[in-house]
Subunit: 242 residues, 2 copies
Amino acid sequence: MPNPTAAMLVIGDEILSGRTRDANAYHLAGVLSAAGIDLLEVRVVPDDHDVIVSALDALRGRYTHVFTSGGIGPTHDDITADAVAAAFGVGIAVREDARALLEEAMARRGTAASPDQLRMARVPDGARLIVNDVSGAPGFSLGNVHVMAGVPSIFRAMLDALLPGLQAGVPRESREVRFEVGESRVAGPLRDLAERTPGLTFGSYPFSDGDLRGTNVVVRGTDPALLDEAVTRLEEIRRAVS
Amino acid sequence: MPNPTAAMLVIGDEILSGRTRDANAYHLAGVLSAAGIDLLEVRVVPDDHDVIVSALDALRGRYTHVFTSGGIGPTHDDITADAVAAAFGVGIAVREDARALLEEAMARRGTAASPDQLRMARVPDGARLIVNDVSGAPGFSLGNVHVMAGVPSIFRAMLDALLPGLQAGVPRESREVRFEVGESRVAGPLRDLAERTPGLTFGSYPFSDGDLRGTNVVVRGTDPALLDEAVTRLEEIRRAVS
């Protein structure tokens, strides 16, 4: 059975304007890779209702899962929950279990939830909450769309809560072989090896280290024996081109 | 006249697998922001010919510019140039001016260009070269698609070479006001201010600093007087909520 697939939708003007460097896509990519869920696309879009709705529509039919980050706080630019409700054509309102989680977190900090904070308890009809211990304000899953916060510590906490409930695939393992020669010297034999080994994918990444121009070759796949065999072949190539 | 718009297409399995954290989108976002070109979408896709072609087709009709990074080296996984040629329905071959740039760079390093390196001189018909001093191997522009390397130092050099030739817009400036209260305390007055000031966009970004939970409010727009006025209003709000 093929692995489940995924896309990520990063929502936020601050990423596109260059103010903030997104950290969540990189974190999600590593976590999904280890879980055997194949991340096949990432999109970054602005805080714009119609754009978010059409991105959700494009992605949720194409992949097993869509993970979103950003736009679920208490302010006017937090419009993700409404966009998800609109994409699914369902209603959205403050929900008692979400409100209870928020009020509990507020009480621990010795304050009461304000009307603006209660916006964070608005959840589309039929969604399942994604709890987090960092802020208290929950994310949610609706269908195959998992809606999480943009603040990296909260995003990570929500992903930790969500992941055990998702069906895992076969983790894609990777091996890396370092060549101390430029990419062009590796290209020919690497192409031959890749053509002979359709069960694996080979990537080649140039690096420079002082005066040295080298190449890291990364081979990825789900079969450890095939991966070990490929590493042996790569080491033979390394001896031949060094 | 509205600002030119842009999308970025990041091409590379290594980003989606979590091996590499992309750095080019963040760099491009800052550079375009300063140039008054509005970056409205970023997509990350794998090294897959058909996927790259359909992403190019989706983006190049929608935005003034499409900037790509990745997949233009000498190895079998470098398929961007072919995908761009296919998306535009044009041929692709080694071109003499591109070959000359490559051979010059090789000569400076005291080597000759190998057949695999010559792959990097393959350019779609009708493209304009984007030079770079770091590797010598050129990127290219075809129509409104600008094809650059994934290695960050080369990407930046190509962007520096490309940008002066693109029509600039009105730079969007931003001002930031730091609130030492949580986002919910700012939400109400900020929403009112945003509604009263349609020429600007307001973003609110929570932060924590030890025990302090604060909020950075960022206001963006093209009219400096309007921005200054908004900062005065935000400072009034800060006095009121502190």
